[in-house]
Amino acid sequence: MRMLVVTVLLVLSLADAQIPPPIVEIATLSTTSEVHDLLLARNGKFVAASCEDQQIRQWSLPQGRLLRTIDTHGRNAGLVLVSDDGRLLAADRDGTVMAWDATDANAAFQIKLPRYRAAAFFRTSPNTAALSHSGDYLALSALTDTMQVVEWPSGRSLYTLKSPPGGTSAVAFSRDDSRIAVGGTDGILRIYDSSSGKLVAQNEDLLGESFGIDFSADGREVVAGGADKAVIFVDAATGKLMRRIGPLADVVAYLSISPDGKHLSAKLLHEKGSALPAPVLVWDTASGKKVAEWIPPGVALGATWSQDGHWLVITSTPTALHVWRVY
């Protein structure tokens, strides 16, 4: 009788629990050169990688078709951004930022910044540039006391935002493009009006640098996380801390809200080195309840939400990139 009750309770509790879908590899992309940096478009339609042979390769997803290869002409260019329509941005260690339109292998424009985050850190901070959702404006986070907002495709500088002396590490536009959220190397989160560049609000609840940053779907909250091993939700109008998830097992390297706003995902960075695998996580945004956690077979080089609402993560082996549907 006792056995029957335990079994019934177990079945009931399993039925009640939200069981995440199985993790499956949805595409394998062949590479002929070792991948250094890798990024996914925010809508999951493109993936691009800067490789050991100093070429940048771009594929379509989910087909996994190689679309183009760009010769960087000897530059040690680390990838900075892949837009939803396939535009690319890469940066050299000397601060030269190069932009390519979706189909052209010739650079659309180049900008020389005094300092840009060294290529080795892109893996820890894939949010060092953000394209507005309209596709017209580019915010470039850099290791200087000013941040550039430029127009695409002209590359014309529109305005600069004042940053802490160490620079900034993460930037995101709200979905209506009215706000820019910036994570400073001083740990302070700043929210600006994107039309004027004026500071609207700031939050000082994190002590370390933010590497992941995003806006909620309705733009009312900013989520940020980084070296503090926590994710904070901040009121975008006042900067007030609303809630916190954590402590987490490791440093937050990337954060992204799903297209429908219902889920928040994170890619963690192993604090003992970026070459060590670390968990990827998905939470229910409203409740903060964790709905999926997975330690990939290798370092999660890139991650994003697909248009149909799946959380995609990419790992690499010497000859291939593996695209996983985690949630």
Partner: protein
């Protein structure tokens, strides 16, 4: 054939070699000779080169000059120097934040081990007691991060490196570019070992030169 006259630097080096010139710690002979030459020629000092802040800065580090706790493993290390402006004037009210890994190359991101906020004294001098940092897995060379601020001066963000780092294979002049983050040879400092074999410790001088706003 007459010998060319000695340069001032050659003359000073000769004096040092013959014992008629000595340099007190914490300055190296090279630093002292540079300063002498600059004074003689009324030249301004070049500011300390910038070097990236790195991903693990943390606000509100404790005000303590002793980062090494009793019994901490690793080679004890004392770093000292003077904070000056490019006109060589001592900056008395400089604040120096330092952070580094432990001897195994691990940053403490949960707490404040091997992190400190220091205040320069009335002569602009600072020092702290730590351990030789290990090699952080994401980086090539051992290093200590600095963030130096003073009213009226540009904030300096830089990193200190060690000439004894095995990465340089004993020749930092030739090999300092092996770590592409290192922006200048000047940031790689010589290491002096003192004490007896049972209680050895390292000392490094790292002067800091700030640019005026």
């Amino acid at each position: 054939m007459p010998k060319p006259p000695l340069t001032r630097r050659d003359m000073l080096l000769k004096c040092a070699a013959l014992g008629s010139l000595s340099v007190a710690s914490p300055f190296s002979l090279a630093d002292a000779l540079d300063a002498w030459e600059r004074n003689a020629e009324n030249k301004s000092l070049p500011p300390t080169p910038w070097c990236g802040i790195g991903p693990f800065y943390k606000r509100h580090a404790p005000h303590a000059g002793r980062l090494r706790a009793p019994g901490d493993p690793g080679l004890p290390l004392v770093v000292s120097g003077q904070v000056v402006g490019t006109d060589a004037t001592a900056i008395a009210d400089a604040t120096i934040e330092v952070w580094q890994t432990d001897h195994l190359g691990h940053y403490d991101v949960d707490g404040y081990r091997y992190r400190a906020t220091l205040a320069a004294n009335s002569s602009g001098e600072y020092s702290f007691d730590s351990v030789m940092p290990g090699h952080y897995p994401g980086r090539i060379c051992q290093h200590i991060h600095y963030l130096v601020a003073a009213p009226g001066y540009k904030t300096l963000i830089t990193q200190l490196y060690f000439a004894t780092d095995p990465v340089f294979e004993g020749d930092p002049d030739k090999n300092y570019t092996r770590d592409y983050v290192i922006t200048s040879r000047e940031l790689v400092r010589s290491v002096t070992l003192t004490g007896d074999p049972k209680d050895i410790h390292a000392a490094v001088s790292f002067p800091l030169v700030l640019d005026r706003l």
